[in-house]
């Protein structure tokens, strides 16, 4: 009898607690409502839709004709897919090297070697330019730079200096162009993130190293790199994630051409959907990609933990500290 009473009591308190929770949630709703609405409408719904669509043969009429796993089977048998996947791997791998490697060199050069603030600022600004330039204009600059005629900048340069005849750079090396163009944009991000990390190294370490008579190279090797280990790992995973799904610049510069030579996975899905109007098939291609992206995201969370990412939430180098206000959130208002 006594036990029963206790259970009833507990039941009542847990009900009370959930009422309290509901009250608190409703209190937060005016603040969170618009946010949640947009997130649901443009993330949750599309993810679900992408999955459902991938099971249909939807075309531009937008009709739901379910075909089971046909799209997926087609994807794994499609002869073009092999090129696309290979391209994607190449693209992600080499762009990453530029993003992280060159970004790292830029950061070291501007944040460690250059002591004059204004010169540092000048170089960092120059390298931020491609990132801030609207993609269409950035692509235009590349098209002009690599213009196949003799008036093209690279052609006229090489022609005048070395007598090399004009050639069609984009047609001949589409992947290289795409990789370098994307690489430069990512490199500025790497530069900003790594520079911030270098600046956050306590100056005492540099003083100690100087007192110990360390050379520049030794300081980089034994002071800077150990501090940059985590930012480098973070950038690598983060950039992988964004590279496998980004295609804006490729679309603008080569549009996947010539003959699919620079077609990457995400662009492939785009073309299937918006050039061929095979929405169902395009969705299936996207779905596989989303799954891979989610796996990488989970890997990232596993490696770094939520807290670390919360603190480093914003990779664009702006502020984004997560406060630990565990107690204080109990405010009763």
């Amino acid at each position: 009898m006594r036990q029963l009473e206790m259970e009833i009591c507990e039941n009542v308190t847990s009900k009370k607690a959930s009422m309290e929770g509901l009250r608190k949630f409703l209190g937060a709703l005016p603040f969170l409502g618009p946010f949640l609405f947009l997130i649901i409408l443009f993330y949750l719904v599309p993810v679900t839709l992408t999955f459902v669509m991938s099971l249909t043969s939807m075309d531009y009429v937008l009709e739901w004709k379910f075909v089971g796993l046909e799209n997926y089977l087609r994807f794994f048998q499609d002869s073009g897919v092999k090129t696309v996947v290979l391209n994607t791997v190449k693209y992600v791998f080499f762009t990453l090297i530029i993003n992280v490697g060159f970004g790292f060199l830029l950061a070291i050069a501007t944040s460690y070697f250059i002591r004059n603030e204004n010169i540092r600022l000048l170089f960092q600004t120059i390298w931020m330019l491609p990132r801030m330039t609207p993609p269409v204009v950035y692509a235009l600059l590349w098209l002009w730079f690599l213009d196949p005629t003799e008036a093209g900048m690279l052609n006229s340069f090489l022609g005048k200096l070395f007598g090399i005849p004009a050639q069609n750079w984009i047609l001949n090396n589409p992947m290289k162009v795409v990789i370098i163009a994307n690489g430069l944009i990512g490199a500025s991000l790497g530069m900003v993130v790594f520079s911030a990390a270098i600046k956050s190294i306590p100056v005492d370490y540099f003083r100690a190293a100087n007192v110990d008579g360390a050379s520049d190279w030794q300081i980089i090797r034994y002071v800077i790199i150990p501090f940059l280990k985590w930012p480098i790992m973070f950038m690598t995973i983060w950039q992988t994630l964004s590279l496998i799904t980004s295609y804006e610049y490729i679309l603008l510069i080569t549009d996947g051409g010539p003959l699919n030579k620079s077609e990457v996975w995400s662009l492939f899905s785009y073309h299937k959907a918006f050039s061929n109007y095979e929405f169902g098939y395009g969705a299936a291609i996207s779905m596989v990609l989303v799954l891979i992206a989610v796996l990488i995201a989970i890997l990232m969370l596993k490696v770094f933990g939520y807290d670390a990412i919360m603190r480093r939430g914003n990779v664009d180098g702006m502020r984004g500290e997560a406060g630990d206000e565990s107690n204080k959130n109990h405010v009763a208002v």
Partner: protein
């Protein structure tokens, strides 16, 4: 306004910040909540403010339960440790802010702000921003802002801890005088016992979420109910020595291998609670010890160090493995390493239970 807290409990997850607190603050009284950091005193204050909600128990203002009354409707003035002035408003706007929210007419707001600014001598600062005035001035502005709406209750959270030493002492007197003039019920959180002793009518001393005792400064100083209170109140703090307890006839003998103290009959009568050979804690304040000639009923020890306190000297004496502090006059001339005899003022000793730390005389 009378404030009553009844069986109040506040938890943060598994941590109980305030444990079953019962406290009555009389109308017009100035009460200090005193305790080490993490003792629950600030949580208590925030519950009075309405910023935290008690998990159980009741808070009453003049017999009305206010658990569910929002802070803005409690008519409380509060002054924070960091002053919490609004950095984007001038001093004048800061002080006027509570009145504006009450939608008072402009003329009246102006008059009230002028009046209170006069009282705190900050008229010349009204057009400045908080970042442009000194810490002491910010403190005055914060007090003015808290008081301008004529609250029923004034809450002060470590208001003096960010001031430098001399300003702190002059502010103590000023706040106390102001509180008496206005007759406003005031609760004041501090970890500084000197502040609590000098300012408040009564002190509620807390430790680990529990109220240890509430009483006048004299009460707590003269009649500590347990070792925590005894050790926390008084500066320099009380000395504690573990001794064996023996009754011979109507006298108590406190004994350990390096000394033996026999308590006279009239003092022994207070402590006849223990069996022979039990361990008890002898507590005695440095000001109730003195250094004198060799005599029975004294403690022999070696001077460890002598600290100059200005008016007095504080002598650290090594007794066995313990060290006790003795307050002596400026004329004391002992040096490090000297052997001395410490005399005890036996009327002012305290005995505590070695197990629970409660006073054998004053504990309820």
């Amino acid at each position: 306004m009378e404030v009553v807290m009844r069986d109040v409990v506040k938890r943060f997850g598994n941590f109980t910040a305030v444990d079953n607190l019962n406290l009555t603050i009389k109308d017009g009284e100035f009460v200090a909540l005193l305790g080490p950091s993490g003792c629950g005193k600030t949580t208590t204050l925030l519950m009075l403010a309405g910023l935290y909600k008690p998990d159980s128990g009741e808070i009453l203002f003049d017999d009305k339960i206010v658990n569910d009354v929002l802070p803005k409707d409690r008519n409380i003035g509060m002054c924070f440790q960091s002053y919490a002035l609004y950095p984007h408003m001038t001093v004048e706007e800061n002080i006027a802010f509570p009145l504006k929210l009450k939608k008072l007419p402009k003329k009246e707001i102006e008059r009230k702000v002028k009046e209170i600014a006069g009282k705190f001598q900050i008229e010349h600062l009204l057009k400045r921003y908080p970042g442009q005035i000194s810490g002491g001035q910010q403190q005055r502005v914060a007090l003015a802002r808290a008081l301008v709406k004529e609250p029923n209750l004034l809450l002060l959270d470590e208001p003096l801890s960010n001031l430098d030493a001399s300003l702190r002492i002059s502010m103590r007197a000023e706040i106390k005088k102001l509180q008496k003039e206005l007759g406003i019920t005031t609760v004041f959180v501090t970890h500084d016992q000197a502040e609590a002793l000098s300012m408040s009518d009564r002190i509620a001393i807390m430790n680990k979420g529990k109220l240890q005792d509430i009483g006048t400064p004299e009460d707590l100083y003269m009649r500590p109910k347990n070792m925590f209170i005894a050790g926390f109140i008084g500066n320099p703090p009380m000395n504690f020595l573990e001794v064996g307890f023996n009754v011979e006839g109507d006298k108590i003998i406190l004994r350990r291998n390096d000394f033996e103290i026999t308590l006279p009959k009239e003092i022994s009568a207070n402590y006849m609670k223990k069996q022979n050979d039990e361990r008890v804690i002898l507590g005695i304040r440095p000001e109730h010890l003195s250094i004198g000639n060799e005599a029975p009923n004294t403690i022999k020890g070696e001077i460890f160090v002598v600290e100059h306190l200005g008016k007095d000297k504080l002598v650290d004496v090594k007794v066995g493995n313990d060290r006790i502090k003795v307050l002596t006059g400026q004329d004391f001339e002992g040096k490090m390493g000297d052997m001395v005899n410490v005399h005890l003022d036996l009327k002012n000793i305290h005995l505590f239970d070695a197990d629970d730390g409660n006073s054998m005389k004053w504990a309820a």
